[in-house]
Symmetry: C2
Subunit: 507 residues, 2 copies
């Protein structure tokens, strides 16, 4: 079990060795060890690769055969192809130098949990199909709710409950469907064309997409404008204006999504104000803390979700910044019965005594799909394998890294921090020469930053992505990678400075 | 890397050893090896456990603490809890004696592929985010389409294309949304309340649920009745009757789901006839071959999907009977642009040159969620690790096992095969004494079979489930487990005989 490098593994005693059976414990063991070593080596060597893949569209089709092989091929040969053909086409989300989008915070503990889940391979659609899958999920969701100090109505003991979805998109589609069906039960099915759904112009596209899938008239989706002076937060006042205008036009507002940590700039919508408006107009309030929810297990960040008491549902993505490998979205609702009313099915072939006893949760009625993986093992492994104190420490370390990067930017007057940094993401831009002067040429500045970003990413030492906030093109530096250390942040700063100099010189 | 038993692993050199970092290659390696051994031992010992979990609702909450631990716990301790507290609550879908629902056919190759996917942990929402994830998926979907002899319009080269969804539920919701939006573009948004969706009374509940999520009026979902004399297949004639009645009532039929291998009885709807009706009325035809699609890579089974040429989309679950661990649903469409029109989003923060060049597939626009795992690695590993010839052999072996079980039942006049067996699932029942006599007391017979099934499952040597088909309670024997061999089938037959004798004697 020592450290092997990939070539040793692939040229070792198993070279040429094909799988003889679809599943055999000894073959499983041998090949499982080989792939563990392969991945450990990948993490060890991850700095060798450009962070953002540099391949061209269609690169892989040229390299692979046109049809599946008729005869088995040795796993060693396949792994060699992974190295030669797949790795070059991967953007290395696990790299310590990955600062793009939001992190994909895989960890050792989560990997182990995912292995167990894949190994048991249970299809946990209802309690009966594998009681442990349902019960462990309910338990870890209560654990997490306590860590986040969610109101007791979100816990099972308080009449609510949590569920692990794949992604926030699914969480929003489920809650939106529940709110739609509540409204239609009251107003009649013919009213569907007059239901309205709200987010801000900073809300993730998932809400608009969910509304479209749920059959909401696309012209009744509102991206309520935000303003720079509100730090791009959705306010109660602007929501109310939009809602009242729609009501006057004969529409019925049913759902608002408030975001804690928007994708573009990590803005935080004003939950308390929004909850008041939602309550007044009988709307379902979902709080999407996909990215920033994780930080709220630290007391010093918990205030960012103040107001969640007024929400009907809350979610965050544990695969973003809570050390769970993709996918793992934690969602809570106050009234599971509203979800079940919209999403339940009860065919004969799934009938069973436990369901009929009404003593169990059947999670198939809390989500879109019937089948579901045993994701709770992963979360349980993360919570126990690291412990809450260390998880808080890891999160704080990422915030410190972002602060460090922000501090370095602030010391260099060529750069501007475009929006306040709340968590581990810094939105900045390079300003054209004439340091400190007013009346920036916005168009030119945007182009300059676009050039600088493309220049950095093409080099491959780091990977960052962009957003446009209030017309301003910003570069996003999102810390939170599990392998990232302070030294990587300092190296990233050196890369930024170098490319800034380069584009300044050429521009 | 030898064979260790779980206690050796857990009491070995790593006992008491906590993870020191969220991700460290050496810790990852050591603990990864430990969990591989743990799972290999689980497979070795899987016969020790009752197949269906025997725990009572709420068993786990009594055993676990009320809150997450503050400090890290050794992985060895967590694994010991898995053995002591989780395994008893698992229904062993991977057991060779598991014949319930449909199989969950995990394999060594798929496990290795899932490990790689979890290890790379890329979030492959668009091409840009990890080109290999998108390109490998397109390639393996073309490979599979060729194996299934799907019409060329389902291949990328023919203007169509395939995508890996999580489950059939998602596949149906996506295609149904596409068909709905096509219709609404033509008819206007206000028409949504008058759209109608069709399946049969044997169609999986996923279709009704998808229609409900997509905002179709629940009273416009048709479960067209099937008949015993048609072997519970949906026919063109009965579909046409239903469609014409709805049109006369002012509705617009938009979508029909035909099934190849229904959940209750593996019935096969009459695709050719249904395709004609769908074409005549401009409906989207989706063919759901969730279970039986896999078999169609064997020439002798391919005829079951004859008529797929007339479909707009086709899907099967590779996690059911194609040696992929959960989840992995293969779906093809002829016109990806219809999916994209219904499901695309294009926020600024995801804009990139590759997308703008229109030379790439962005799979986020082919599915519900934005984020997606690199599932293609798993399928690629299965296709290459076993090869097509062996995959066919494995599938044929399962069909032979079902034939063997069917043959044993036929030799015993106490039993009846209720519907024709086409694949690896046998639907049978025990008849009350008076062998061969007519006028069975259906109510008593149903109760008798329910008793026999519960008696078998409570014992735990095998696990089977039931369905009610045309008022008849049947026991389903679904072969296809990756560990199942002929000897297990003979043992299952012994169990059935024993419990039949027991309930006969007591009744």
């Amino acid at each position: 079990m020592g450290s092997l490098n990939t070539d040793d593994i692939l040229d070792g005693q198993f070279a040429g060795d094909c799988l003889q059976k679809p599943l055999d414990p000894d073959e499983f063991r041998r090949h499982g060890h080989m792939v563990v070593d392969f991945i450990a080596d990948y993490y060890k060597d991850i700095n060798k690769y450009p962070v953002r893949s540099q391949v061209e569209p269609g690169y892989l089709r040229k390299r692979l055969p046109e049809a599946a092989p008729n005869h088995p091929e040795p796993i060693t040969d396949i792994l060699r192809d992974v190295t030669n053909h797949i790795v070059p086409g991967i953007t290395h989300w696990m790299s310590p130098n990955y600062y793009a989008y939001f992190p994909s915070s895989g960890s050792t503990a989560a990997f182990l949990g995912e292995m167990l889940s894949t190994g048991f391979n249970v299809v946990g659609f209802n309690w009966m199909s594998s009681p442990a899958a349902t019960e462990l999920e309910s338990i870890v969701m209560d654990w997490l709710a306590k860590l986040l100090h969610l109101p007791s109505q979100f816990l099972f003991s308080g009449g609510g409950g949590g569920v692990l979805q794949g992604t926030t998109c699914e969480a929003i589609l489920c809650t939106l469907s529940a709110s739609r069906d509540q409204a239609l039960t009251r107003l009649g099915r013919n009213h569907i064309g007059r239901l309205a759904v709200y987010g801000s112009d900073q809300t993730h596209c998932a809400v608009q997409k969910a509304a479209q899938i749920a059959g909401i008239n696309p012209s009744n989706f509102r991206a309520v404008p935000t303003r720079r002076e509100d730090a791009f937060a959705l306010t109660g006042e602007s929501l109310r204006l939009s809602v009242e205008k729609d009501i006057a036009a004969g529409l019925t507002p049913i759902f608002v999504c408030a975001t804690v940590g928007t994708t573009s700039s990590t803005a935080v919508d004003r939950l308390l104000e929004i909850a008041d408006v939602a309550k007044e107009y009988g709307m379902w309030l979902h709080v999407d803390a996909a990215y920033a929810g994780s930080a709220c297990i630290c007391p010093e960040f918990r205030h960012f979700i103040d107001g969640v008491e007024g929400a009907d549902s809350f979610s965050f993505n544990a695969h973003k910044w809570f050390f769970n490998n993709l996918d793992c979205c934690c969602m809570w609702v106050k009234r599971p019965e509203a979800l079940v009313a919209a999403l339940s099915t009860n065919p004969e072939y799934l009938k069973n005594r436990a369901t009929e006893s009404r003593q169990v949760v059947d999670y198939k009625d809390w989500q879109i799909a019937l089948s579901r993986r045993f994701r709770a093992l992963k979360m349980w492994m993360v919570l126990r394998g690291y412990g809450v104190a260390n998880l808080r420490n890891y999160l704080r370390a990422h915030v410190r890294m972002a602060k460090l990067f922000e501090g370095l930017l602030r010391l260099d007057c060529r750069f501007e921090i475009v929006v306040p940094r709340y968590f581990s993401t810094v939105c900045f831009r390079l300003l054209p020469p004439r340091c400190g002067e007013r009346d920036v040429d916005e168009k030119r500045t945007n182009e300059l930053n676009q050039q600088m970003l493309e220049s950095m990413n093409a080099e491959g030492k780091v990977y960052m992505t962009h957003a446009v906030i209030g017309g301003v093109y910003v570069i996003r530096f999102a810390a939170g990678g599990t392998l990232t250390e302070e030294r990587h942040v300092r190296e990233a700063w050196a890369v930024v400075k170098e490319h800034a100099g380069k584009v300044m010189a050429s521009g």
